[in-house]
Symmetry: C3
Subunit: 305 residues, 3 copies
C-alpha cells in the first residue's frame, strides 16, 4: 500500500478488500468495547481547516479504540495556523509532533500537497469537493458487509449528482467492483458526462438514469440517498422536484424486503423520520462503520497490522 491515502484510486481493489477484512476484526473489538493497543505508541494529528465534526470525531474515535492519542485543531483555529505560513511548512512541522495526519481542507489538491511534504502518512479527510476517500471506503464497506457481494448488486444513487461530488467517487468505486447502478436526479443536476464516460469506457458500466427515485426503487438492492440543495435549483424547480427525492416510508413500500437505505449524513429532509424505524434503514450503522474502517486504515498505514 502507498504511504498515504489521498484519492480512492491510491488503493487497488485487493487493497480495499484487505482493509475490509481488517475492519471486520476492528468492528468485533469495538462491539466488545475492547481497546486495542495496536497504536498505543502513536499520535494522530487531525488538521481540520474547515469544520467537519462528524469526520473528525470518527477519526478520533478510531484512534482511541486503537489505544493511540490525538492532537490537532478544528476549523476556527485552522485559520491561525495558516496565517502567513504555507501548508507545506505547517505539515512539515506537525509531522514532527505526530505519526499520522488526517487533513480536511477547503482547497482541492491540498491533501496531495500535504502528502508530498509529510514524513508521516497523510489521510485525506476531504479536500473541497474533490475527494473524501474514507467516506467512499465506509460506503463500500457497508454495502459489502450487508449484501455479501458488490458485483451482483444494483444500487440507486439519488439526489444532486452534479455537485454532490462524493457520489462521483462512489459511482466509480462501485463500478470497479462490478455493481450495476441507477441514477436519479433533478434535471440539470445529473451525473456529469465525464463520470458517465469513465464508467462506460473504463468499466463497461451503463447506469440507468431518471428523475424520480420511484422509477427505480422496486428493482434495486441498495439506495444511496444524498441531498438536493434548494439553492441549486431555484425555488420553483425545487418545489417541483422535491418530492421525487424524498424517501418516505410510503416510498419504501415499493422497495424489496432486503433493500438497504444508506446516506452519508447529515440528512436534512431527504429521508423522512418515519423511515428511521424501518429495519432496512442503515445510515446510522453506516456511520458506525466509519470507525472500524478508519481504524483499519490508520493501523495499516502505521504498519501495525
Amino acid at each position: 500500500m502507498k504511504k498515504d491515502l489521498v484519492n480512492i484510486k491510491d488503493l487497488s481493489n485487493d487493497e480495499i478488500l484487505k482493509l475490509f477484512d481488517i475492519a471486520d476484526e476492528m468492528s468485533r473489538a469495538v462491539e466488545k468495547k475492547e481497546r486495542l493497543d495496536l497504536c498505543k505508541n502513536n499520535i494522530l494529528a487531525t488538521l481540520f481547516y474547515e469544520a467537519s465534526t462528524r469526520t473528525r470525531l470518527s477519526f478520533e474515535s478510531a484512534m482511541f479504540r486503537l489505544g493511540g492519542s490525538v492532537l490537532g485543531f478544528s476549523s476556527t483555529e485552522g485559520s491561525s495556523v495558516s496565517k502567513g505560513e504555507t501548508l507545506a511548512d505547517t505539515i512539515r512541522t506537525v509531522a514532527n509532533y505526530s505519526d499520522v495526519i488526517a487533513i480536511r481542507h477547503p482547497n482541492e489538491g491540498s491533501a496531495r500537497v500535504a502528502s508530498q511534504y509529510s514524513s508521516v502518512p497523510v489521510i485525506n479527510g476531504g479536500d473541497g469537493g474533490h475527494q473524501h476517500p474514507t467516506q467512499t471506503l465506509l460506503d463500500l464497506y457497508t454495502i459489502l458487509k450487508e449484501k455479501g457481494s458488490l458485483s451482483s448488486l444494483t444500487i440507486l444513487i439519488s439526489g444532486d449528482l452534479k455537485f454532490g461530488r462524493t457520489t462521483h467517487s462512489l459511482a466509480i468505486s462501485l463500478a470497479r467492483f462490478g455493481a450495476k447502478m441507477c441514477f436519479a436526479s433533478p434535471p440539470g443536476l445529473e451525473m456529469p458526462e465525464y463520470i458517465l464516460r469513465t464508467l462506460r469506457e473504463e468499466f463497461n458500466n451503463f447506469p440507468q438514469e431518471g428523475t424520480n427515485i420511484r422509477d427505480f426503487i422496486h428493482q434495486v438492492d441498495a439506495i444511496y440517498v444524498t441531498r438536493v440543495q434548494r439553492e441549486r435549483l431555484g425555488e420553483m424547480e425545487y418545489l417541483k422536484y422535491r418530492d421525487a427525492y424524498v424517501l418516505s416510508s410510503e416510498v419504501m413500500k415499493s422497495a424489496k424486503h432486503e433493500t438497504i437505505v444508506l446516506h452519508p449524513l447529515p440528512r436534512v429532509n431527504e429521508i423522512s423520520r418515519d423511515v428511521d424505524k424501518d429495519p432496512r434503514a442503515l445510515y446510522f450503522k453506516q456511520a458506525f462503520n466509519g470507525v472500524p474502517i478508519r481504524m483499519a486504515l490508520i493501523a495499516t498505514l502505521l504498519g501495525k497490522v
Copy 2:
C-alpha cells in the same frame, strides 16, 4: 440506576449516597495521583453546544483519571454540527463514536431528547437554565463530606434566587435530605413560589426568607453564595442591595467557627478576595469535588463499579 442522568430527580436518595461512597474512593485515588483503569476501554463524548469551560474540563479530567479517552466539541464548533441536522441525528451518530455522552445545550429539555435517541448513557451538563445535575451532586457531596450529615444542618442560599436556577435543584435536593434552609435575595429576585410550595408540600420544609445575608450568617452551617447580576435589578436597585450579598471577611466574623462557604464559580465580586484565605472558604475544594463526583457517575453509568 437509570441509563441516563438528565434531572437530579432521576436519582433516588440511596442512589445519590451510593454515588458519594464511590466518589470518596475516587477522591482518594485522585489525591494519590493514581490513574484508575476502570474505563480504559471507553470514550466520553463532550458535546458542548455552548461554552462552559469549567464543566467541560471537569468532565474531561474525570474521564482521564478513569483511564478513558475524550472526544467532542466546545461551543464555537457546535453550531456547525447542528447546521441543518437535528439533535436526534447528531446524538445517534455520536453514540456510534463513544460510550457515554455529556451534553451542554442552551435549550431546556435538550438533554432529555438526547437521552431518548442515544444508545449510550447521556449526562446532562446543563440544559439552559433548567437542570445541571452534576453541579447539584457536587454541591451536596461537598456539604455532606465536610459536615458529616445533611439532616441536622441549616444552609443559607444567597443571591439571585429567581433566575439563578441551579439554586432551585439545590434547594429541593437539600430538602430531600432533610436540611433546613435560609434564603437571602434582593426584593424581586426571591425564590419562586412554585419551589417554595414544593418544599412545603412535598418535604414539609419551611425556609426562612430575608434580604440580607447578615440576617442569617450567624446561625447557619453552610453559606452557598451565588451572583446577583447588575442587569437584573437596574442600576439604582443594584447599588442599593449590592452590599447585602457580598460576603467579605468582615461579614465572615459573624459566622460560626465551622461554617463553610461554597460557590458554584465563577464568582465575580460576591465573595471578596480576602475571604479566600479563610479556612472556611471551600469553593475551590468544591470545584475539585466535581472530578471525583463525575468519575463516580461515569463509572457507574458504564457499569464499571
Copy 3:
C-alpha cells in the same frame, strides 16, 4: 529546580544542561516511536488565551509521548473562561483538574501570576512579547546538540531585534553559556540598549552589529533568522532593506560548510524555499526538538525523572 518555569532566568545553567541530558533520552524514545509511561497518571492543562497552534501541539505531543493526558482550551474559547473571572480564579480551579499547566496569554506577567495561584507547576508558553522560555530552551538545545558546545561558537541573530523579543532571551541565554554573537537588523530595529548593556555588564559580551546578514554570514557557526515585519518599517524602508534579511541559497554560498540555519517558525519569506533542501537548514529539526525538550521539562516538574 523551582516549581514553575515562567522566565528562562528561573533555571541555572546547570539545570538547563540537566534538562538537555533528559531531552536526549526523550529524543531517543520518540525516534524509536516508544511511548514512555512516566506521566501516565498525569494530566496537562493547556490554557491558551491566544492562538499558538505550534506551541500548543508541541506541548500536547510531549505529554502524549510521556503517556499522559491533555485537556484545555485554545484561543477562541479562552475568552469565555475569563468572562468575569480573574486569571487567579481560573488557575486555582484548573489546578484542581490537572497536574501541570501550560499557559499562553497575551498579557506580560500573566504566567507569573498564574504560577503564584497554582498548586501545580506552571509552564509559561508565552506571555505577550515578554517571555517564551520553552522556545529559548529548544533553540539552545538545538545549537548545543548540533555543534557540541556553546562557548566556542559565534551566532548570527538577524531580523527585527527590537520588537522580536524572543531574540532577547535567546541573546542573553547564549551569553550565559559564553557564545559570541553578531546582530543584523534594519536601522531602527536594532537590539535594545538595555539588552546590550546586560550583555556587556553581566557577561562581558560584546556582539558585533550590522545591517545586512551578508556582513556576518561567512564567519558564523549558526544563523538564527527571524522576521522583519513590513508594518514596522514603512513601505519604502521595507523595500530598501528587505533583501538584506532574506536568507537564500545564493547567500548560503558564503556560509561555512558546517554553519547551521535556525528559525523559530512560522517563517514567511525571510528564508527562501530553496534553502529547505540545504542539509544545513535545521529549522524543522529544531521544531522537532520542541517535543523532547518539553517532555524533559514536564517530566522534571512532575518529579518523574
